[in-house]
Amino acid sequence: MHEVAVSSMRDPSTIVVEGVNWTVASGDYWVVAGLQGSGKSDLLMMTAGLMPPAHGDYRLFGEPMPIFVDSRLETRLRLGLVFESGQLFNHLTVWENIALPLRYHENWSKAESAAEVQRFLASMELEPWADSTPGAMARNWQKRVGLARALILQPDVLLVDNPLGGLDLRHLQWWMNFAEGLSRGHPLLYNRPLTLVITTADLRPWRGQKRSFATIRNKRLTVLGDWSQVEVGSSELVRELLMAETVRP
């Protein structure tokens, strides 16, 4: 991204982040932190190609984004997005939600996609809900369905919007371990390392981890580097994000 400005999804006339100069290399694991309403989700939506940048140049694998033409669909599908609340299709079952991208883009029948979907259901402990609609599940589990749906097309880059928000400790630990596995190379993706960009409003779970960190504040994305540089910088925002429980209302 070069000098990119990001508009709000809700109000395209409002710029929420600007002057973004940021390069994500293959195999990177980025954590983008910011308080609620700072524009993390909008940055991720723009990165996923749901809207064009308000200004500047954004390229995915060298191709200008967003991509809406079928001829460049292959590049577009190398990127997956997990929404904060899952954003599942309520008229479909969990099985159908996960299978949809595969069946749509590969034109597979239910029978053809069954084995692949089963692999994801098992890996994410979602088998008991396979035939349920999303409304019958707790929010913690809905996020996993959203993750499975984003991964089933075997993307190279995964954007995850605030996956740890509102999770209990068990689910939080599962997500941390799973993201770690994806970054190193997970069997679900045939041990191919995945490039990850995860947003968060709470830096504590990532304390001390060897990741690349960035923060968003006052419409600016600031690249901090690894954890040691986060601690050295120790800005007011980082201090707030490290004691998120007491800061948030």
């Binding site: 749901l50 809406f68 309520n90 991208p101 069946r103 749509y104 883009h105 034109n107 597979w108």
Partner: protein
């Protein structure tokens, strides 16, 4: 994906025009209403053309997903409504025959019973009544479903998966409703013609079944069949496009879904009546 297809409604200017309170001046008020009307026509026209283009260009794309969804919509807008339409067809036969037999007998024009049934049921009431009933049962449900999906971010989720929302959500509804309304109209007409004779028989009208059938076939022309198919398909296409447009093509919040439903219902009725008027002109000119 067809993002930005109906962007004229996503601009701040358009939102401003739609939501700003009307000024007290009469000319401003009329002008603003006219502006809204033109914007709506433009948006609907663009959405209809996009839908047609997607139907034609993506006919074989993702057929394991889209074709079953289309079959489901055909059942929903057609087969599942059949019991209600059988009841309506019996009522329609009673209505037309019950009112007309007494007058035709008095005038000595009972030989025109079949002609009246063809004009009233086949050409006018059958298609229009079917369209309005399907609008009430399925069209409004379309707006609620799609509007809720839009408000809950499901459309963004489709776009994130590079799935064209028009192809996945609109095309099955448009095709399903066009076929559903055509099929239901045929059943409604057959039922009404049959029940019409039954009521005439119960009223001791001196009319044999063969004579009634001869009157019907004598009044029907090839143009009736062609225009019936065209008109009912057009009704289905129009209702599906308008209801999908109001549910899908504009950003909605949950509390706006009910207003969108009312708007879509009213516009569908107006559009169907206008198309029906156009077909009357074609009948008269033919």
């Amino acid at each position: 994906m067809q993002k930005g297809n109906v962007s004229v409604f996503d601009t701040p200017q358009a939102r401003f025009a739609f939501r700003m309170p009307l000024p007290p001046s009469l000319t401003h008020s009329v002008g603003r209403r006219l502006f809204r009307f033109l914007l709506t026509v433009q948006g609907l026209g663009a959405f209809a053309l996009i839908t047609l283009a997607v139907i034609l260009t993506k006919f074989r794309v993702a057929r394991h997903v889209v074709w079953p969804a289309t079959r489901q919509q055909i059942a929903r807008a057609g087969l599942n409504l059949l019991p209600m339409f059988l009841f309506i067809s019996a009522s329609l036969g009673l209505l037309v025959i019950g009112q007309s037999v007494a007058w035709l007998t008095r005038l000595g024009a009972i030989n025109y019973l079949g002609t009246i049934m063809v004009i009233v049921v086949v050409r006018e009431l059958g298609p229009l009544l079917t369209a309005l009933l399907v609008l009430a049962r399925i069209g409004t449900a379309n707006v609620v479903e799609l509007g809720t999906a839009r408000a809950l971010g499901e459309v963004e989720a489709l776009e994130a998966l590079a799935i064209d929302p028009v192809h996945y959500l609109v095309v099955p509804r448009v095709v399903g409703m066009a076929i559903g309304i055509f099929a239901l109209t045929v059943y409604l007409i057959l039922g009404a013609l049959g029940s019409g004779y039954l009521w005439a028989f119960l009223q001791n009208v001196p009319l044999r079944p063969g004579e009634y059938f001869r009157q019907l076939t004598g009044a029907l022309t090839g143009l009736d069949f062609a225009l019936l198919a065209l008109k009912t398909s057009a009704f289905g296409f129009i209702i599906a496009v308008i209801t999908c447009y109001h549910g899908l093509a504009q950003p909605l919040r949950l509390e706006e879904v009910s207003y969108a439903t009312v708007r879509a219902g009213a516009q569908s009725v107006i559009a169907c009546v206008m198309v029906d008027a156009l077909f009357i002109v074609i009948y008269l000119a033919a």
